[in-house]
Subunit: 233 residues, 2 copies
């Protein structure tokens, strides 16, 4: 499989999809047209989402076709040169993907080597479940099960601290609850500005910040770009 | 119905349940024993949770009995003088409450006037659904439907800003996604240190900070303690 799983589309103060674009271009080298899944969009339309992403991918010479315009979205995936799943609300994304059979269609397709690019919610749904999303459960999907292209969970937008004076759980506390309830899974806390690339059977961290690894019974620890991540696979 | 729906157990730097204790004492005046639902606890035991809460409620002269020790938890609720639901992970709480039939049992019981106290996840589950929780979906409940004692949604631990430099959605953005997907519901963003009291047919905000009100198509707005909140009912 060939996966590029990006923490977040946009770093604070930067234009949309600016920082990951060079890595996307390198990863999708040779691809001329990608099928896009826009269903994480909630407060703006799927048309608008397709337009925004198409504008950015045009800089790479890649045309975007959004599945919301396909008569048969699963068939569009089956015929894709590459699959791109955008961020937004993970529950809205999972619900619509499940309704249209896209979790299974995408897994079947990317198992044959078709490249997959996701960011934020689009990285979450590539995991076994959506259980490590940060998003609000605004709608109820059929199930928390997702594509399952990798055997570990990603927490995108991983952040270390709460705003000062806020007593709600930190992200680390939330993930420690997840590993307590799911003792057989690793969680990779992927900080903003970072991504995971899986290609040629090898998983790599790309970015300038370490990634935080969680598993039940093990002290959380940091891994750095260049480190061996094969334990996650 | 008689409800005390508290944003959070503990403000930063304060002892556990310190700030809401006087309001709980006044609300539960005359009560000698309360049934406690500990199922939001994930990283510590239900016994430990019962002990912590019992220690605090002892200051009010109220004995705590946790449903995890009952042979028939729904029956324990049916016989309760008061029902107390503690915070933690909302998904873990909802899952176990649904498995034990406690959503329906609590609604039946509090419809007869039995007082209900909840904080954080315990306030979330008093709403029609758990869809405005901040928690990570670490386990999948049967449904997002909850007790439904009030017709609006509470977002506990409501906070205004992200940590500086973080590009993930703000809480307001998350709630605006919720109201977009659920246009018939109000959401009350209940800041830390605040609570809602419903008694004698009247809903009141208690605390020193305003509450932020969201509804689809309406500009978010602040309400203050003393304001008429009947529009939420």
């Amino acid at each position: 499989m060939n996966l590029l799983l990006i923490s977040n589309s946009t770093c604070a103060g930067e234009p949309y999809l600016r920082y990951p674009l060079p890595a996307i271009g390198e990863f999708l080298s040779g691809i001329r047209r990608a099928v896009f899944v826009p269903y994480a969009a909630v407060t703006f339309s799927f048309d608008e989402y397709e337009r925004r992403v198409a504008e950015r991918f045009a800089e790479l010479g890649i045309e975007i076709f959004s599945v919301h315009r396909a008569a048969d979205p699963a068939q569009a995936v089956a015929e894709a040169e590459a699959v791109v799943v955008g961020g937004g609300n993970t529950f809205a994304l999972a619900k619509k993907m499940q309704e249209q059979g896209l979790m299974a269609a995408i897994l079947r397709k990317i198992e044959t080597g078709t490249p997959y690019v996701g960011w934020s919610a689009g990285s979450n749904v590539c995991c076994p479940t959506i259980c490590t999303t940060n998003d609000m459960p605004i709608v109820q999907p059929e199930s928390f099960a997702a594509i399952g292209a990798v055997p570990f969970q990603i927490n995108p937008h991983y952040l270390d601290a709460n705003p000062e004076g806020h007593a709600g759980e930190t992200r680390e506390q939330r993930i420690l609850e997840y590993v307590e309830a799911n003792p057989d899974r690793y969680v990779a806390g992927l900080r903003e500005g970072c991504m995971l690339r899986y290609a040629d059977g090898r998983l790599s961290l790309i970015g300038s910040r370490p990634m935080r690894i969680f598993r039940k019974g093990v002290e959380p620890r940091e891994v750095n770009p260049g480190d061996d991540l094969s334990f996650l696979l």
